[in-house]
């Protein structure tokens, strides 16, 4: 393994070996195995043993609901509704813009030049992704929004670029020195976002006018590549910090999967489900939910 794995993550994403074929391969993986598969696809050319060990352990201890058939089924059903799909694209644009600002603040406060540049690059990517989701909206649902509202939506992207100097967003709780915990949270969240892209591509194709499908697919491919790159670079930062830190990485990953699993289920509201028998056997709150739904 290189002495500093983050140095092997050059800005050129082609070095990671993530290409069109990656989508095809990942979309063939059963939903129950996709979380691990996404991480491994992102790390195809990186050696991060501590990261992978902690991830694998967490997937056993806290199986994520977003890696289940039930989660995919709910998405599949919801996404058949064009109105829902259009709002979903707008909401995703909004969240990408928010995330970009968090990363911009985090990057501004980093005392490590390498991390700072990677966080900046990431924030610029997410800023661009906000516009990419809006482009998908335009291609898939032409004229779904009024011109005035559509123009307003462009403001969801903070418009960050690598030419701009980093500075913390005023009042942001993320204006702080980044920790390994931040990178673990980012990594888990990025894996889920990549999984969403795998489900979103066929769903959007059903709504997209045939003439626009090729351009929509190209944007979606670019988004997936970026998200996998983000999984890879955060994994590399985690690996580097884990080598020099005193933290129990497996424990941290498990705790953060637990937190993010709850967030995921809360997002689903009354559609939350009991993710698996193994999960429900371990978690009283999962069984409690089953009793509520039985009542």
């Amino acid at each position: 393994m290189p002495s500093d794995v983050t140095e092997s993550l050059a800005p050129s994403r082609s070095r990671l070996g993530i290409d069109d074929e990656t989508y095809t391969q990942l979309s063939r993986v059963p939903y129950g195995e996709r979380v691990a598969a996404v991480a491994r696809a992102a790390l195809a050319r990186l050696d991060c043993p501590q990261y992978l060990s902690a991830l694998d352990n967490a997937l056993i201890e806290e199986p994520p609901p977003f890696g289940t058939d039930a989660y995919a089924d709910i998405y599949c059903e919801a996404s058949q509704d064009g109105q829902w799909m259009a709002v979903s694209l707008i909401t995703n644009a909004e969240r990408e813009g928010d995330g970009a600002k968090r990363l911009w603040s985090l990057g501004a406060c980093s005392d490590d030049e390498n991390e700072q540049q990677q966080l900046k690059r990431h924030a610029v990517d997410e800023s661009r992704h906000a516009l990419a989701y809006l482009a998908l909206l335009d291609l898939t649902f032409p004229d779904a929004t009024s011109p005035a509202f559509r123009k307003e939506l462009n403001a969801l992207s903070p418009g960050f670029s690598m030419d701009q100097p980093l500075c913390a967003v005023e009042g942001s709780p993320y204006a702080k020195l980044p920790s390994i915990d931040d990178f673990v949270q980012m990594n888990i969240a990025e894996i889920r976002t990549a999984l969403h892209h795998l489900m979103q591509r066929p769903a959007l194709a059903t709504h997209c006018p045939p003439d626009n499908r090729s351009r929509a697919r190209s944007i979606q491919q670019s988004l997936l590549q970026d998200e996998l790159y983000h999984v890879a670079y955060t994994a590399a930062l985690i690996e580097r910090r884990a080598q020099s830190g005193r933290l129990n990485l497996a424990e941290l990953f498990t705790r953060r999967f637990h937190d993010f699993n709850l967030i995921t289920l809360e997002e689903l509201g009354d559609r939350r489900f009991d993710c698996s028998l193994a999960c429900c056997a371990k978690r009283p709150w999962c069984r409690a939910k089953a009793h509520i739904s039985d009542a």
Binding site: Q83, T91, G99, S146, S179, D181, Q185, E267, R271
Partner: protein
């Protein structure tokens, strides 16, 4: 010149926007999202919100992208 505002589905929009929406409705398009940005946040019309609530009762918007830390109270950097 300030545009005159009106209300469509409980959302304040300009008359230009209202006319555009009516035009879209006239064309029979199924997917229409009416809204506005308030302090950088999207505010959708009631029809869109109802559609979401029908699919996901008592839910936040599901299946959204998260790309940054989700808990600002992270473990200290030195640990």
């Amino acid at each position: 010149m300030t545009e005159k505002m009106t209300v469509v589905d409980n959302v304040h929009v300009s008359e230009t926007t209202r006319d555009a929406v009516q035009n879209l409705q006239g064309q029979g398009r199924k997917v229409q999202v009416i809204g506005r940005l308030v302090n950088g946040k999207v505010e959708l019309d009631h029809a869109s919100l109802n559609e979401m609530a029908k699919k996901f009762p008592n839910a936040e918007m599901a299946f959204v992208a998260v790309n940054a830390p989700f808990d600002p109270n992270s473990v200290a950097p030195s640990t």
